[in-house]
């Protein structure tokens, strides 16, 4: 008897109309029909290939052969010679692990806060946050940026991304100066720029540089769901299977210094002027969304992209609330329909207009048109 095993680091994410193989090792995902999922499930439950052909009958023989050829050619699976061999390949654990009380932070840095950034960074470092985004809704000169980045000396923060307004002085020399010291800066986005361009990091400039014509004046711009943000990689997918893919181990500080799950969320757990980040973290509500996965969210639970997609709890369709009072509605800014497999512009959907008004996103939507 021959058995067929899907490589256990390829995870099938079953959608209502079609499915996805998330290849965690090769960091890519492929769409597959649900017929194939049925066959994979059958084979994975230790049905031999011979029995499978028998079950599906002569009329499906060719299709099944094609499917098996597809899986082997793309190295999604392999044949086992016996049940004994088949059973030696246990499923891979899908547990998510990793140390640190907080792993990522998003801070809207007001001018006032800029002066006290040191104490915030010290606290984040203590929680062993390793990645953060600093949003400056204003132009920053080279001295300003350098002095911000100097505050990271001696921390274990390994990635800093900066968003700031474009201004005349931003050019090759500006970036060279910014690169002169080794800092954890990994990307800088200049909005309100006269052009759109992305320069990935290289041997001369050790961080990505992006220019965008958009005018990022508030955090209302965040929460976009698009295929461009889909990402298949080990930690990302495992985190999405076990936790909220956006908010887990995240902390946000808004422009007023309010400590939140993300700057765009409504609930505040204190203000940095009087509350320590570690205290806010202990607030009973702080982690309420950390365990909410896409499997708990309306529509998303039927979507094949749910483990490679990143969630948004700040802007949702406001259609579903669970028994614990958590918002389990689909992200507002997603235009994908898993029932028809079609993408549409999210902002024009008639049922979303109320939510758009609720969040005060009308202006942003108009500007995008």
């Amino acid at each position: 008897m021959t058995y067929f095993k899907l490589f256990t680091n390829c995870i099938v994410s079953k959608g209502i109309a079609r499915s996805l193989i998330c290849d965690l090792q090769r960091q890519s995902s492929t769409l597959i029909p649900n017929d194939l999922v049925a066959i994979i499930t059958e084979l994975d439950s230790a049905t031999s290939v011979e029995d499978l052909f028998r079950q599906y009958g002569a009329e499906n023989r060719e299709t099944i052969s094609e499917y098996l050829a597809y899986l082997t050619e793309n190295e999604y699976g392999f044949y086992c010679e016996s049940l004994e061999e088949f059973n030696r390949f246990p499923p891979m654990s899908t547990a998510f692990s990793g140390s640190g009380k907080i792993t990522n932070a998003v801070i809207e840095v007001s001018e006032d806060m800029e002066r006290n950034l040191g104490t915030i960074l010290e606290q984040l470092n203590g929680l062993r946050c390793t990645s953060l985004v600093l949003m400056f809704y204003r132009p920053m000169d080279i001295d300003g940026l350098q002095s911000v980045l100097e505050r990271f000396d001696g921390t274990e923060i390994s990635s800093v991304e900066i968003v700031t307004a474009y201004h005349e002085a931003v050019g090759a020399d500006f970036l060279k100066n910014l690169n002169a010291r080794l800092t954890p800066l990994t990307s800088i986005l200049f909005y309100n720029a006269p052009f759109d361009r992305t320069d990935p990091w290289d041997r001369n400039i050790y961080f990505d540089v992006r220019f965008s014509r958009s005018n990022i004046h508030s955090f209302k711009h965040c929460g976009i769901v698009s295929a461009a943000y889909f990402d298949t990689n080990f930690p990302k997918v495992l985190e999405a299977m076990n936790h909220n893919s956006c908010l887990h181990k995240k902390i946000g500080i808004d422009i007023h210094g309010n400590i939140k799950n993300c700057p765009a969320m409504e609930t505040s757990f204190g203000n940095i002027r009087e509350t320590k980040l570690a205290e806010a973290l202990e607030h009973p509500g702080f982690k309420q969304y950390w365990g909410l996965t896409k499997d708990d969210i309306a529509v998303c639970r039927d979507c094949e992209y749910r483990y490679i997609c990143t969630d948004c709890r700040a802007y949702t369709g406001r259609t579903h609330i669970d028994t614990g009072g958590l918002d389990t509605s689909k992200p507002l800014k997603c235009g994908y329909d898993p029932y028809t497999n079609e993408w549409a512009e999210w902002s024009v959907h008639p049922l979303r207009q109320e939510a758009i008004r609720y969040y005060g996103l009308e202006e942003l939507v108009r500007n995008n048109e």
Binding site: T8, N9, Q25, E75, P90, S93, G98, S99, G100, F234
Partner: protein, 297 residues
Amino acid sequence: MILIFSEVNDLSTLAVAGYLDDYGVPYTVVLKTDTLRYTDADKGTLYIGENKICLKDIHAVWFRRGKFFIRSNAFKDRELDLYLYENNVIIEDYVNYKLEQVKSIGSAAGLHVNKLIVLEKAKACGLTVPDYCLEHDFQQQDATYIVKGVNGNTHFNSDQLRIILPVVKLNDSHSSGLSFFQRYTEKKYELRIFYLHGRFWSMAIFSQNDPQTTTDFRKYNKERPNRNIPYTLPTAIEAKLTCLMESLSLNTGSIDMIVTPSLEHVFLEVNPVGQFGMVSLPCNYNLEKEIADFLKS
């Protein structure tokens, strides 16, 4: 207090330290570049640069990379240096011996193993090993043989050069200095196994599809990386490997095996300070946490 001997660039140590931080368990990392001293004060005190730790406060030791050693200031005189060295070795051995009295991962003595002794002991424990011999002259055989360095090193550096000693499949007769010849074993997949105090975490590496990697998977193919997935060893093989590890007095190590097309498990080698990250990450075993938990408890 947990004592960890390691190196500055070791990501696995960093990952384990992250969990120890989560647990709030104190630990000290000793690097090969640190200056170490020992005195009998307080029933044994270790000095690491400016820091001092009493041996009685240490409840676990991880010999990740390196061990207690005394950097001696050379007299530039052969006899004097030799005298000092011999003197220091006794102190080093003694301190390491004392460190090994608590719960430990790895050991000072077990940093190196003798491949030839390992193979003999593996056979004695009932493991299948490829036929091998130490010879000067190689006569062409019916079976394919490979020749490789007996110390397991595939390269070494000299000045600005790297000398690579590839594993070679032999087709004709050769004569040379004493060499290690091993019968080439066909494989369905390779196994990389991490062993820690009686437990096994195994990974199967499917490399046969790719001619680039048929003899050595470390020659990495970035375009289409080999498939690496979790594997469960048959209990009989686990028992034999445990026998081997115990006979080598190793409480940890990374073991290489081959599964042949006829599904036989063939033992190749054991590395007492093997990388477990390369098993842990692809299989999501989270061995970094297992190690932190072991050291903490």
